[in-house]
Symmetry: C3
């Protein structure tokens, strides 16, 4: 499993300082890495740990070479190179092709011999898997689903019927793709369910975090673009479109029919209202409440951080009296103008 630094330098176009025959076998942090480990320096805050590192090699930017006590691979973007090196050293476990005896695979499903279908998995009628798909234990794939090559659906994932998923996607445990959108019509006798007949279409290279839910469209499809990365416990409502390479951190939610542009970034706990248009390259900081469309790229926020509770209580009370403050200010302003008039 070990790789020589010379090989890594060639593979990723890095300048190498140190012994080209040094072999690295795993990754480590600057603080904890030992012999045989490769580490990286990408975040300035960790630079203080560089001088003491016991890693066998460090991936870093040119400006840190001199402080590095061990071999180093110099990269313009050390974190991106580290990601590749880490994948080389810690590849996903190899598939064990075949269908477990306790899996229930519909006779009309298409499951290439290169796939691994784990214990207790269910694959519905007419579902089609690409080559080398991993379906984890107790994962359920509904009828008519189409999944591209090299996807990995971990344990206890649920895909409802008729979903489309691209190649090389990863879906983590507990995630639910294609449940009914929240479509209900008010009637005098209560809420009437509106059938959700759209699908979910997912591009290539998408990762969906544990426990996240992506609802199927009401009529047309919910669409997740290429390279989208979704963290845990995220909710994507029906008819939402997520542009390519957008990333969404944990516990954020996108309400129905909203369109997020490409390369957007959402921090954790972001709430985006329904029927909005968010343009490309918008960054919402954590806990942002997005209640209007955004047509200008940039960073947006609406979070106010904690204060000690006694202090906060006073601030919140002041906030609730902002109307009175504004009225008082207006009255003072009027008085002041009168004074000035009298004075002049």
């Amino acid at each position: 499993m070990g790789i020589k630094l010379a090989e890594l330098a060639v593979r990723y176009g890095c300048e190498l300082h140190g012994d080209p025959d040094q072999v690295v076998e795993c990754v480590g942090t600057l603080q904890s890495a030992g012999a045989g480990s490769v580490s990286f320096l990408a975040n300035r805050a960790y630079r203080k740990h560089l001088a003491m590192t016991q890693a066998s090699a460090v991936i870093l930017a040119a400006d840190a070479i001199e402080e590095c006590p061990v071999a180093c691979l110099v990269a313009d973007d050390p974190y991106a190179v580290f990601a590749s090196v880490a994948a080389d050293l810690h590849p996903a476990p190899a598939l064990l092709p075949g269908v477990h005896s306790t899996a229930a695979v519909s006779s009309s499903a298409i499951v290439p011999a290169t796939c691994e279908i784990a214990a207790g998995a269910f694959i519905g009628a007419n579902a089609q898997l690409g080559e080398r798909v991993y379906v984890g234990p107790n994962t359920v794939i509904g009828a008519d689903v189409k999944i591209g090559a090299d996807c990995r659906l971990m344990a206890n994932v649920t895909c409802y019927q008729d979903i489309r998923m691209g190649n090389r996607c990863i879906v983590h445990s507990g995630a639910v793709v294609g449940a009914d959108g929240f479509g209900i019509a008010q009637t005098p006798t209560g809420w009437r369910k509106v059938p959700q007949v759209g699908r979910v279409k997912i591009g290539d290279d998408v990762e969906i975090g544990a426990g996240s839910t992506i609802d199927r469209g009401a009529i047309e499809d919910t669409e997740i673009g290429f390279g989208v990365k979704i963290d845990n416990l995220v909710h994507i409502a029906h008819n939402v479109h997520i542009g390519d390479h957008t990333v969404i951190a944990a516990q954020s939610g996108i309400a129905g029919s909203t369109r997020l542009g490409a390369r957007c970034m959402l921090g954790g706990h972001v709430a985006v209202s329904g029927h909005l248009e968010i343009c490309d390259d918008v960054y919402f900081l954590g806990r942002a409440s997005v209640t209007r469309s955004i047509n200008s790229p940039g960073t947006y926020s609406s979070v106010i951080g904690v204060e000690e509770a006694g202090k906060w209580r006073k601030l919140a009370a002041r906030f609730k009296r902002l109307e009175e403050m504004a009225a008082k200010l207006k009255s003072l302003d009027r008085n002041s103008k009168n004074e000035q008039d009298r004075g002049s």
Copy 2:
């Protein structure tokens, strides 16, 4: 599967404009519907698409008849009629009664022959299902659970022991009904778990979204009223009561022992504190923080929407200095009064 417009007009009491023999087979949006589709116009924002629609028929209100280029069904509430028509055209898949060979059904459970128990499902001791219940793949129903007729528990649902569920409920994948409430007692050596011995009682016609959790009561029951609709990733804590026909959008949470009235509506990401009483007909806008009981019907909010981050940072900093602003205002007011006294 197709239905004549004449038949729909009679069934739902709609005035029909156009060919009564026109058959519709599926639903579509005004923009995308093609021949054989029925669409609807309920939201004013979509009216601009009506004139160009290629649907075979549109369900709409009387004031839009003249703009409709195709057949139309006139309804007081087009969306509610659309919901019914959509259900006629896209019924839930028919059950395949029987118990899959890989399901594990306790010999003491009562499972009518009209039920479909899918692969890998588990049904515990003394559980009782009503007629025509669907239990999806790998769904787990605990001991002593009672489920009414025509319920549909999709794949990978979990019902803990001794739950009561009414008729015609739908529970989506990943939902967990009846897990222990968060009951812990502080002791000098740490937190001691308080056994949660209540149940969850769910009325008829309830829908529970994907990944939502409804905890069992600590001593008495957690209760979900009739016709309640719960979106995805919603948390309902122990001892909560939800009134009939209340709807709760995604990622909202109701803390322990709170009682929500009937016909309430909660937007997404709403947080309701524990031990509160919310009266009937209260509407909380998305991201609302409900920290006190509400005894007057109406709409309530506490959200502040995003601003560009630089602007926001200044506003948040001002907020943190509201006490100083108030003090300054008070001092100016005093000065102004003194000035006036002197001036008079």
Copy 3:
């Protein structure tokens, strides 16, 4: 199952008022408890129900003895004693040791004969369970996982590979332990996944709520201390450390690499940003947004509760004009000083 009050008094060191031979068999609230039930009074708000209770006995503090119409057990901390009594009266169901015929247990896994492995459960290669572990229906335990004695993993739980869990832990349905952290590196062609090679280490006596997700570390481990209690739908990101006896209420999230101290308490919907240090004994009220490290024990908040929507709209609009208010205030202050200068 019944226990005599005399026995409970001895067991928990309580003074007993009333018949020592009275037997109690179950718990109840002051309002609903009937003959054979034991209730408790811990929250002042419920004291009004004491005089009318029909419980056979009440656990209460000394100051309430005189108002109690039935037998009572006097305790310094009635709720903690009640927790113990409730556990005596309502013990977790006894295990049925053995492996269900539909479970899939790897031949290299170590599963003591005292364990109960329910239907459809999966236990991966080289996994090791302690004595008397319960693995619920359709729960998945990955390869190389080590689980301590007396743990209970309810139905539909997922543990990824190589997790470490202490003794007496409870993991509720839908929870996912050890999914990949959200590690991605930006590149010119999109986001590159960073392999997550750390583990999750969980102490003794930890409870993890339904649908919660605890990600594995990127390089080093995510760590959950002893006695930590986690409610439903909580997200714990990679590399987070949670100190001993900290409790986290529902739908809260802790972003990557943050360290929470011991004995902290997080209300519901709390969001803690990444790379922060929170000291011991910090209490965050519900919906708090924690955007900076906290090094002083105490209570912190950032929630503003709802107002009627019309009133709120005005307050939010005023908030957005705080900069203008501040400028106006400054200008008035300057004028006032000038007036005073002129006046003097």
